[in-house]
Symmetry: C2
Subunit: 102 residues, 2 copies
């Protein structure tokens, strides 16, 4: 379980770590951990499947469908399939887990 | 999102809060938050579907299939379908999220 940089265009200072992957034999959904350094962001993109997010540490914003919302530890976000979204760290490192269907 | 006691037999000092439920329109999987008070435990039971757990706070043990493992914040547990399991809090309140397929 190693952090690797998110290399997709439109990303900066973001790393991903697979906590539960297909290799672990997860039947239905997968768990990843994201670290976004202060001032960094994940790509503003969408997928045809949902994301379920739980914020662990730090402060930042989630941007989706033209809205921006502040996020903090304990916040939960259900991003429906097909909605463009981006996570932005504020002045501290943002950490969250993000689950997706297999 | 309110904590409600886990009333299933074999449970003590455990509360559940649904973070993402079917009512939220989650297509594939659901997110719950568990709080287990010091010395408390969830039922030793199994289901025909997997559980994916991320430990948030506290200390304790997960017991499954005759094994017991200590757990602490940041630990991740994939419980395969059909495996009996139980979460036990140690001397402090244990908090974790647990996701299940819909």
């Amino acid at each position: 379980m190693t952090d690797v940089p998110v290399t997709e265009e439109g990303s900066e200072g973001a790393r991903i770590r697979w906590l539960i992957s297909e290799k672990d034999g997860a039947p239905t959904f997968l768990m990843r951990h994201f670290t976004v350094e202060a001032g960094g962001f994940t790509p503003y993109h969408n997928y045809n499947w949902e994301h379920e997010v739980y914020v662990l540490e730090g402060q930042g914003k989630v941007r989706y469908e033209g809205r921006e919302e502040r996020i903090q530890p304990g916040d939960v976000i259900l991003l429906p399939p097909g909605k463009k979204h981006q996570f932005q760290a504020g002045s501290e490192t943002l950490k969250f887990i993000c689950l997706v269907p297999k």
